[in-house]
């Protein structure tokens, strides 16, 4: 069997597995976020928090909950790193420097998991397991909560109430993320991922001497790292490290974990707004882009354009033998079209066009299928834009799911889509204009520019993967990328929740013959086009200077 055919069959197997999980998981999440009942363990947690889970919140209250919880998480994670030197279970690692600790705290709270540190050489058990992995759970749960709040905005009328943030947060962790993570972690251990609390120890080698490793709770962190679309690796090499991703089965399984919640949330959305077919239209849009990008990525990587790859006879630099080109390309598009940013192969050593595809995936706003929660709300915002454009074409007031898209709604949607491009292009421009940030570049020319563009694209879109040639552990990059991650996460959430509030307060508009049928393939097509045009126009000049210039020269 040729490697290309094997790659395509792996893609098909993945699609089959996702399709099997779609209904049960999507329906389960719809029940979780609609139910009135509280589990016993949840009642204990609410008692600990001191919050009443039955209080309905309007959007400002919901937003305050999100921000207060995230701020507390950031302070806690920052302090944990700064105190690492004095904590037990830290394997002798010292405290993290202030700028790096800020960057890492911002990164994990913002569901980005950009890493300017080397996991196996900087973080002990306490910070990894008690700090970073906890944010992997809760930042994911916050993302789903905000998405659910927006869905409630569409589903409810003449209220303004969006649910209870604490209840949504806790249910996401207890009823969705933990059960799947437990099973996922055990599957990964069965494949060979580490799961222990051993210290740093020497392991004998074949020719004598020894290698030194540190053990750790790797599999348990790996499972939620993929499931919560976080992406922060236990080790520097992330999912390319054999202890994180031991064999081709674990590789396919990790890609499945990345995609399963974001795709299933479209069914949750359909259920909650009372029309499964509306969910299918969103799903179709996401799936079209994801499959299209994956096919393009496989083509360019198997074709291996680039001087050094031509010489080597294949683009295997930065890729593992057990995954090959197919398994690596599949992982790369899935991780950049969601907000994951875990890598099983190093994007900086992809072909020029391959690197461009990973960047474009993030620049689309990570909506195909996107991060847990953030993918759904990002796509719904784009759906509002698409409805608006369609409304302009036929000259009638746009409406979506029975809600009028008026001035206030379209202003909020427009603000949402402007935040990340402003951050990405602004910070990239500043880094290239100043003299010192450029010392961090590993490669020169077009690829050097791509390293910086990738870093801010990844940060502001909360992805976390890197063209890792960039030495990002400098005060400039730690601070600016840290800010890009925080603003790129929480500003859009402000607009999403404000929009949700204003939608929930409306009374429903009855559908007429003139209403755009948003559950039809025509609308999915319109949505794909809107996404490509809006993103293409925003980022095309920057992409032309980086990956396109590199790809066209080879």
């Amino acid at each position: 069997m040729s490697p290309v055919l094997a790659g395509v069959l792996q893609l098909l197997a993945l699609i089959a597995a996702l399709a099997l999980a779609h209904r049960p998981l999507g329906d389960h999440m719809a029940r979780v976020y609609s139910s009135d009942k509280h589990l016993r363990v949840e009642k204990w947690i609410y008692k600990g928090i001191g919050a009443n889970p039955n209080t309905e919140m309007r959007w400002p209250a919901y937003l305050r909950g999100v921000l207060a919880f995230s701020l507390a998480g950031m302070l806690f994670l920052y302090l944990l790193q700064r105190l690492q030197g004095s904590l037990p279970g830290s394997l002798g690692f010292r405290a993290i420097d202030p700028d790096q600790a800020f960057n890492t705290a911002a990164s994990f709270v913002a569901n980005t998991n950009w890493q300017s540190y080397y996991g196996e050489q900087a973080m002990g058990h306490v910070v990894q397991t008690g700090g970073l992995a906890v944010q992997n759970f809760v930042s994911a749960a916050v993302g789903i909560a905000v998405a659910v709040a927006l869905v409630r905005g569409f589903a409810r009328s003449r209220t303004g109430e969006l649910g209870n943030f604490w209840a949504d947060l806790v249910r996401g962790v207890v009823r969705v993320l933990i059960p799947i993570s437990v099973v996922g972690a055990l599957v990964l251990v069965a494949c060979g991922a580490l799961q222990n609390f051993s210290g740093i120890h020497g392991v004998g080698q074949f020719t004598g001497g020894e290698q030194q490793w540190n053990g750790g709770a790797v599999a348990s962190q790996e499972a939620i790292k993929e499931l919560g679309t976080n992406g922060g690796g236990y080790f520097n090499a992330n999912s390319a490290h054999p202890f994180e991703n031991p064999n081709p089965i674990s590789n396919l399984f990790e890609i499945f974990l990345i995609l399963v919640i974001p795709f299933a949330l479209t069914r949750t959305f359909g259920r909650m707004v009372g029309s499964i077919r509306q969910g299918y239209a969103i799903l179709a849009t996401m799936a079209t882009i994801w499959v299209g990008f994956t096919a393009l990525m496989m083509w360019t990587e198997f074709h291996h354009g680039g001087p050094a790859f031509d010489l080597a006879g294949g683009a295997m630099e930065g890729k593992e033998t057990r995954f090959g080109i197919g398994g690596s390309a599949l992982f790369a598009t899935s991780t950049t079209l969601t907000s994951t940013g875990a890598v099983n192969s190093f994007h900086s050593s992809y072909t020029g066009f391959g690197g461009g595809i990973t960047m474009l995936g993030m620049q689309l706003g990570e909506i195909a299928p996107g991060g847990v929660g953030s993918g759904l709300y990002g796509m719904l915002i784009m759906a509002i834009i698409a409805v608006f454009i369609a409304g302009l074409m036929v000259g009638r007031t746009p409406e979506y799911l029975g809600k009028k898209i008026g001035t206030r709604e379209i202003k909020l949607a427009a603000c949402y889509i402007l935040v990340t491009p402003a951050l990405v292009l602004g910070f990239t421009g500043a880094s290239m204009a100043l003299s010192t940030p450029k010392d961090s570049l590993l490669n020169t020319g077009a690829h050097g520019f791509s390293e910086v563009l990738y870093a801010f694209t990844s940060g502001a879109n909360n992805n976390g993967s890197a063209f890792a040639g960039l030495s990002a552990d400098t005060p400039w990059f730690n601070t600016t990328i840290g800010l890009a991650m925080l603003l790129g996460r929480f500003l859009p959430m402000v607009f999403v929740l404000a929009l949700a509030g204003s939608l929930a307060a409306q009374k429903p508009v009855p559908a007429t013959v003139g209403t755009l049928r948003t559950e039809k393939p025509l609308f999915s097509g319109l949505l794909v086009g809107t996404l490509m045009i809006i993103t293409g126009l925003t980022y095309f000049p920057a992409l032309a200077l980086g990956p396109l210039a590199e790809g066209l020269a080879s």
Binding site: Y118, V138, L169, G314, E317
Partner: protein, 241 residues
């Protein structure tokens, strides 16, 4: 004003309490439970899939290692011990820089671009690797290719550049790739047989025995575990000797 400060403090307090409760759940109970089950059910795998040979741990099935000659005086990097099958290059693998108490392995890739070390031709429109490239990925691939040809060409067997698979001259993502492709293993057979005084057929059989195909016929790529192959090779040499 006082009221809003008070409200903010109350809210932050709730956030902090929520974080602490969820830390106990996700950062203590979850990893401990998974570790407990993993250690009970998959003890060897959860602890690094170590391989023993002759009563001694010789490494992990999952982690690549070097098969080098002892470092001679004046050498900075050791030479490969050509008696053994050789792994992929690992130019991205680092030394530890932070924790000076240990010599930890730092996993990682080179992150070099496909056009690093290339020069422009065709009026500046195309880029190719300079055959005298001294830096970048071009230089690394050239050096690795020359070494593969020189090391593996024996009296009756010449290696041509077209025989060399891509992974033999490139570094992996982790720098710890435990595998090589069956093609690269076969390419090394003549050399290994000669250096160990074995027949090519015997060594071929070892490679065949240690080749893993795609799982279920399509998942992953065919591969040879270098450590397991070298252990078998060692036994074969001992048995014959």
């Amino acid at each position: 004003m006082n009221n809003s400060v008070g409200n903010t403090a109350r809210l932050l307090g709730a956030g902090l309490r929520a974080l602490l409760v969820l830390t106990v759940l996700c950062g203590v109970l979850y990893p401990l439970a998974v570790t407990g089950v993993a250690q009970a059910l998959f003890h060897d795998k959860a602890n690094g899939s170590e391989i023993e040979d002759g009563g001694r741990v010789v490494g992990s099935e999952l982690i690549g290692q070097r098969y080098d000659l002892p470092l001679k005086k004046g050498q900075e990097t050791p030479e490969p011990d050509l008696k053994w099958f050789q792994p992929r290059p690992s130019n991205g693998l680092g030394e530890n820089t932070v924790n000076t108490r240990y010599q930890l392995i730092l996993s990682g890739a080179t992150n070099l671009a496909g056009d690093s070390g290339a020069k422009k031709t065709d009026g500046g429109r195309k880029e190719v690797c300079d055959p005298r490239a001294e830096e970048g990925l071009c230089a690394q691939v050239l050096a690795a290719r020359d070494a593969v040809i020189k090391d593996n060409s024996t009296a009756g067997h010449t290696v041509r550049p077209a025989d060399i698979p891509a992974e033999a001259v490139t570094s992996s993502g982790s720098g710890l790739d435990p595998h090589i492709s069956p093609k690269y293993a076969e390419l090394q057979v003549h050399r290994v047989a000669e250096r160990n005084g074995l027949s090519v057929e015997d060594v071929d059989r070892l490679v065949e025995k240690n080749t893993d195909g795609r799982i279920l016929g399509f998942v992953g790529e065919p591969r040879v575990n270098v450590l397991k192959l070298n252990i078998d090779l060692k036994h074969l040499v001992t048995d014959k000797g």
